[in-house]
């Protein structure tokens, strides 16, 4: 178990360094911030001064080294755009996104387990077909369009929900629904597949022979065994939540990492881009490790085989 986690941690750290390197150079390719922040008429001295203050006059590799040294100490430098430490800016944006992603993922899981289990129990019969068409339709709706149509119906026509903001619970309804759109369809299909496998297994057949009710069979016996693929796919969706956050930020002006990333890219704010990616990367890695740990909690067989030092 611990060797497994340790191995996972090492490979994750390598991934993170890779991500950081890619983003560092990618961000530099978007052009010089000087041309964006200084007026057209700026003299060469002013440009040099600007670059010197922001450390952009150094050779690229020196900048990269400084960045790496800083990153180890969690110092990503100052945001050119907001004139504050980049990490501070990023961490401020994190809570709304985490809350949004957490709520959306949890609701998606609940919906998916319900629908997927029903579909599995009534496999190839009408409830299964209906659920399959519904989930396929849900996965076919572009999230940004869903958000706009949601505004059109619930805010413009019915005056039930606000078009933006995040202070009231009502303002969360459309953003959460928008972010749920991508994971819920996939998760339902995964639950269905895993549940069909689990329901066919010997111990479930055995429990069935002993006369347990269908609901108990599904929720107690099969779900626990179907949990592995479900948890794994849900964890896989973690990075995708940032995509949802960007869309929700754009349509609902919902604060969070999405708005920040869009703004940082448009403002060539390298330090904030890097801090964002670093924090998101850490988040994804934490989720992946949690998923692995959860495997072991759910399924004792994983504990045994992983303990053998895979």
């Amino acid at each position: 178990m611990w060797t497994f986690l340790r191995r996972r941690l090492v490979t994750s750290a390598i991934s993170l360094v890779g991500v950081v390197i890619v983003v560092f150079f990618l961000a530099r390719l978007t052009g010089s911030p000087a041309s964006l922040y200084l007026p057209e008429s700026a003299t060469q001295e002013q440009i040099d001064e600007f670059n010197r203050i922001n450390g952009l006059d150094q050779p690229l590799l020196v900048q990269f080294w400084d960045f790496l040294v800083g990153a180890v100490r969690l110092d990503f430098g100052n945001s050119i755009w907001q004139r504050r430490p980049a990490l501070e800016v990023t961490l401020e944006a994190l809570p709304p996104t985490l809350a949004l992603a957490g709520i959306a993922l949890a609701l998606s899981l609940i919906v998916a387990v319900l629908l997927g289990s029903i579909a599995a129990v009534y496999r190839f019969r009408s409830p299964d077909r209906v659920i399959s068409v519904v989930t396929l339709t849900i996965s076919s709706i572009p999230d940004f369009w869903f958000a706009l149509v949601g505004i059109l119906i619930f805010a413009v026509q019915l005056h039930l929900l606000p078009t933006s903001g995040y202070a009231t619970p009502a303002a969360w309804v459309l953003p959460v629904a928008t972010v749920m759109l991508a994971p819920v369809g996939v998760l339902t299909q995964v639950v269905r597949g895993a549940m069909i496998d689990a329901l066919g297994a010997g111990f479930v057949q055995n429990a069935r022979a002993r006369g347990f009710s269908k609901a108990r069979l599904v929720m107690r016996h099969a779900l626990r065994n179907a949990a592995l693929p479900i948890v794994s796919v849900a964890g896989d969706r973690a990075a995708g939540m940032v995509n949802g956050s960007i869309i929700v930020g754009s349509v609902f002006a919902f604060p969070g990492v999405g708005v920040l990333i869009m703004g940082a890219v448009l403002n060539r704010d390298f330090s904030v881009i890097q801090a964002c990616v670093f924090v998101v990367g850490i988040g994804v890695i934490v989720v992946n490790i949690l998923v692995d740990a959860l495997y072991a909690v759910i399924d004792p067989r994983v504990r045994v085989s992983a303990g053998k030092g895979k």
């Binding site: 068409v133 076919s140 706009l148 990075a239 940032v242 869309i247």
Partner: protein
């Protein structure tokens, strides 16, 4: 599951015979499935429209007429082109949608094809040889998995000029790991099989084994994944255009049209709604067809094509 069944079939039956039966069986099932027929019909219609119509309507589609701006839909007095209304610059929605169809389909198909071919090739080689190169490639795939795809696309498209080709490159780039992992996982499993061993024993070199023994068995899976990916690429491309970083006028696609309509959401719903409806229908058709195809070609799922007695028990 799919891997083993395909393989088992290939081992039990002589390959050509199995192909023929498989295909005609699939075709028969296809003709009996309303959802498959409908979705292929829609996709075929779109493809034909996208290829045939744009050259004839290109000028008319982009002609701006401020007198007709935000013209409501379902009116025929300005001609059939305005049946779906007009956008904020008085361009006919219907013709804009047709121009958008060409771009959206082209981007989706090209991105999927490029990502699938590259991912398939690299994954196969990487899985077969293993070793440090395999490790490095997997770490790169992990890295791409850790960066949110939209962020990568944002950054790259911000550097490159917005254009159809750059959009395709970015989308393909973000999806390569999907195929790479699939192909690698299969290659990893297949290389231990007896038939690979026997090929090697009669003197086949590595490349011959990869292309003659492994590739034919991996292709069906890659094809299935690629079909599944069409819809999500379509949505991803539309999303990038919606955010305003995918394309630039005069190129237009469905996502860009939704973005155009956004400012007039309260006064002119049709400008936002139509392109979205087309996206949903197209993605749904692609999803339905690929789902159906996967089920039809997978023997373990063929139970659903057999008519079941009404009183069948739920749990098998």
């Amino acid at each position: 599951m799919a891997i083993e069944s395909t393989d088992a079939g290939a081992m039990l039956l002589p390959a050509p015979a199995q192909r023929r039966t498989g295909f005609s069986l699939t075709l028969r099932r296809f003709l009996r499935s309303p959802s498959a027929l409908l979705s292929v019909g829609w996709l075929a219609l779109l493809t034909i429209v996208a290829i045939v119509v744009p050259p004839f309507v290109e000028t008319e589609a982009n002609r701006q007429d401020l007198g007709l701006r935000l013209l409501p839909p379902f009116q025929l007095e300005h001609g059939f082109a305005f049946i779906l209304g007009a956008d904020s610059l008085g361009r006919p929605e219907l013709l804009q949608l047709i121009m958008g169809t060409r771009t959206s389909l082209l981007v989706a198909v090209l991105s999927v094809a490029i990502a699938a071919v590259i991912g398939f090739g690299i994954g196969l080689v990487s899985g077969y040889f293993g070793g440090w190169l395999d490790e490095v490639l997997m770490r790169i795939a992990d890295v791409m998995h850790t960066i949110p795809s939209l962020l990568l696309a944002l950054a790259v498209l911000y550097v490159l000029q917005p254009s159809i080709m750059n959009l395709v490159i970015v989308l393909a780039l973000t999806r390569i790991p999907v195929y790479l992992r699939t192909a690698r996982a299969q290659a990893l499993e297949l290389r231990e099989r007896v038939f690979v061993e026997s090929s090697r024993s009669i003197g086949a070199d590595d490349w011959r084994i990869i292309w003659r023994d492994l590739a034919p068995l991996v292709v069906p899976t890659i094809r299935t994944v690629a079909m599944l990916e069409v819809a999500s690429i379509l949505l991803a491309a539309a999303g990038l255009s919606f955010l305003g970083i995918g394309l630039q006028r005069p190129d237009v696609d469905w996502g860009m049209m939704v973005a155009d309509g956004r400012a007039y959401l309260t006064s002119a719903w049709w400008v936002t709604v139509w392109p979205g409806v087309v996206i949903v229908l197209t993605a749904l058709a692609a999803n339905l067809f690929s789902n159906w195809l996967r089920a039809a070609e997978d023997p373990s799922q063929s139970a659903q094509f057999i008519r079941r007695p009404r009183r069948g028990k739920g749990i098998s």
